[in-house]
Amino acid sequence: MISRRKFLKNTALGIAGGALSLAAFEIIDPKKLMALEAADGKKIRWVFLVDTYKCVGCGMCVKACKLENEIPYDASVTRTWVERYVLTKDGKVHADTPKGARDGFTTSKIDLGVSEEAAPKDILAKPEENGVHTYEDINPADIDKAFFVPKLCNQCENPPCVQVCPVGATYQAPDGVVLVDRTWCIGCGYCIMGCPYGVRFFHPVYHTAEKCNFCYHRITKPDPQNPKTFMKTACVQACPFGARQIGNIKDPNDPVTKIIMTERVGVLKEEYGTKPQVFYIGLDKEVR
């Protein structure tokens, strides 16, 4: 009679053997492989190029983005924003982005936000009076240099937000764009905490994680005017000065690719190892 030990041993061996044979005999079909390679969208890798010399801080891009992507117009959260940097002779950096520069920069004064002293004691009682912003006036004679920097999602090659999502609701498309599945997001906020660029937030209406996706609904459709190319993002289209451009880094003839390959460009917060894919011309070391 077979002993219990032997029976268990043989069963385990049998299962292991059976499983092995299934895996070992899968033959890779070269045609199938080629088809897979063609279909996985590896021919496209969306990147973004910002020419900070061209940006004047008008905020048209922010406005266009909010309208295009249905981010409540008056909400302070936004998928893209423009920062203003003013560097003075005393070595100080003054920076602000009032309302994400949705209305541009309407005053030369720097927005200092709400100080703890100026904040009301019970801020919940009247959230619409959530403290008074203070402003700093800078004498133009003291300014060394000043410039604007548009910000948006960097569609990182190594996105920390995708890594930390506990349910896989945020993911990277084969063309590099990081997307969020609103039907799957549980709203834990881990991705928001994980992003070093602060591009993520909770959508005020849907309450799920929200971010710039390079207007994915647009860039995946052919341009009606030029069907050989794809539609541009809302911000690219809205920028009157061509400070924003989107391109496909896999296409060597793409003008954006040419600039990135031949000119000197920088990226934001390289030290985090996220491999950001938004490239900047004229990036200053003081940009945060």
Partner: protein
């Protein structure tokens, strides 16, 4: 001006932003995320305390061990609740278990939590098997059972899992199983909590959180808080029992009162437990100071803003509330010879407060500065709730979470009697 109503982003309600911050930055992880590591810390700590007796045979802790294990089980159910209250979609929270995305630290929660739960539950079963058998046999023999007794009988019958063997030999095997489970449970309990530390320590975007020391610091302070809560609850329960026994004796003369009932808290148990508490407290403080010194010494890019938060803006919360009131004062209280119960109560309450402040300073302090390193965010804890959101992520929600394990303990203790003599009734 901040927009009102639906146009208000999550977190905007309780965040005041100063100087240069990104538009989307708010305090997203609020008081419930402070409660989460605090509660799991209590679970882990209580379990480690109970294992001191079962694994290392610290005989004086016998009473406390039983108590700590049941309490740990009660706490276990409360541990995931802060997350549920924090989620924007609480009903989708189940997806963490159903479709875990394992590159995320949070996704491991299901595996760790259920492994640990299984260990505690089976250890409890072995510990209380004899009790289940006795109760169910007694109720089976009883002729005219009331409805409650029928219900009780059903519960205890199923809890025996059909095993009625309570011979000397079987009980001996139980003890062996308990010892193994308690031994395996220690690393798992540490993992349960160390992993909560990992959730924070692995966020590379956050300059204050990112350190490999975070899980270890969390484990040490977890054990501290777990022991403290067990001591506190043990003292309170024993004192209540003594008070009730004294009242009974007054009302009904001639009633026999066991010595167990009148003696109240045993000072030697408290003294010994306090020794372990001090041990882990010293380890926790050393690690935290090491982290602090290391940050200052290496002075990375983020140090300027982190320093301004630590030594200036949050100085009161960190150095006065956490280190002095929560760590130093109880340490002195425990180290002065001749520990009394009253002093122990003050000490453990301060320790619990200190550990809570540590969690607070990590979670809220980590969001007190902007990713720009050039701006700050202040958190205003919602005290009077204006709507559901300000309740659940406010003082009310946090208190409900804190009270929950005590209520659960009261219920669970009906099935797992914590005190030996309860069986005689």
């Amino acid at each position: 001006m901040v927009p009102s109503g639906e146009m208000l982003a999550h977190g905007e309600l309780w965040t005041v932003k100063e100087l240069f911050t990104y538009p989307n930055e708010f305090i997203y992880w609020s008081v419930q995320i402070v409660m989460y590591p605090f509660m799991t810390g209590l679970v882990a700590g209580a379990f480690v305390l109970s294992s001191l007796y079962h694994v290392f045979g610290v005989q004086q802790l016998k009473d406390m061990a039983r108590f700590a294990l049941v309490f740990s089980f009660a706490l276990l159910f409360a541990a995931p609740m802060p997350i549920v209250l924090h989620l924007q979609f609480p009903f989708r929270g189940i997806e963490i278990f159903m479709t875990p995305h394992f590159t995320s630290a949070i996704a491991a929660f299901g595996v760790v939590f259920f492994t640990y739960g299984a260990i505690v539950a089976s250890e409890l079963w072995f510990l209380y098997r004899k009790h289940f058998v006795e109760v169910s046999l007694r109720l089976r023999e009883k002729q005219d059972k009331t409805l409650v007794e029928w219900f009780q009988y059903l519960i205890f019958c199923s809890l025996t899992l059909g095993v009625y063997d309570v011979s000397e030999e079987a009980l001996h095997r139980d003890e062996k199983a308990i010892k193994i489970l308690a031994g395996v449970g220690i690393p798992v309990a540490c993992f349960l909590h160390g992993y909560a530390g990992f959730i924070f320590g692995s966020v590379k975007a956050n300059a204050l959180w990112m350190t490999p020391l975070m899980p270890v610091i969390f484990i040490m302070s977890a054990v501290v808080s777990g022991i403290a809560l067990c001591m506190l609850t043990y003292i309170i329960v024993m004192e209540i029992r003594r008070f009730l026994a004294a009242r009974k004796r007054l009302s009904g003369p001639g009633r026999f009162t066991s010595t167990e009932e009148i003696k109240g808290v045993e000072v030697h148990v408290i003294k010994l437990t306090a020794k372990y508490l001090v041990l882990f407290l010293v380890a926790a403080i050393s690690l935290e100071l090491l982290d602090l010194i290391f940050r200052g010494y290496t002075a990375l890019k983020s140090w300027d803003v982190v320093r301004s938060v630590l030594y200036d803006r949050d100085f009161y919360d960190i150095f006065i509330m956490q280190y002095v009131i929560g760590n130093l004062v109880p340490l002195i209280l425990f180290l002065i010879p001749g520990l009394t119960i009253r002093r122990a109560v003050v000490g453990v309450m301060l320790v619990l407060f200190g550990v809570f402040m540590m969690r607070w300073n990590v979670v809220i302090g980590g969001q007190a500065f902007s990713l720009t390193f050039a701006g700050y965010m202040h958190y205003h804890l919602p005290i009077i709730p204006h709507n559901w959101e300000t309740f659940k992520e406010g003082l009310g929600g946090a208190l409900s979470i804190f009270i929950m394990p005590f209520v659960l303990f009261w219920v669970i203790a009906k099935i797992f009697p914590v005190f030996a003599e309860a069986k005689q009734e």
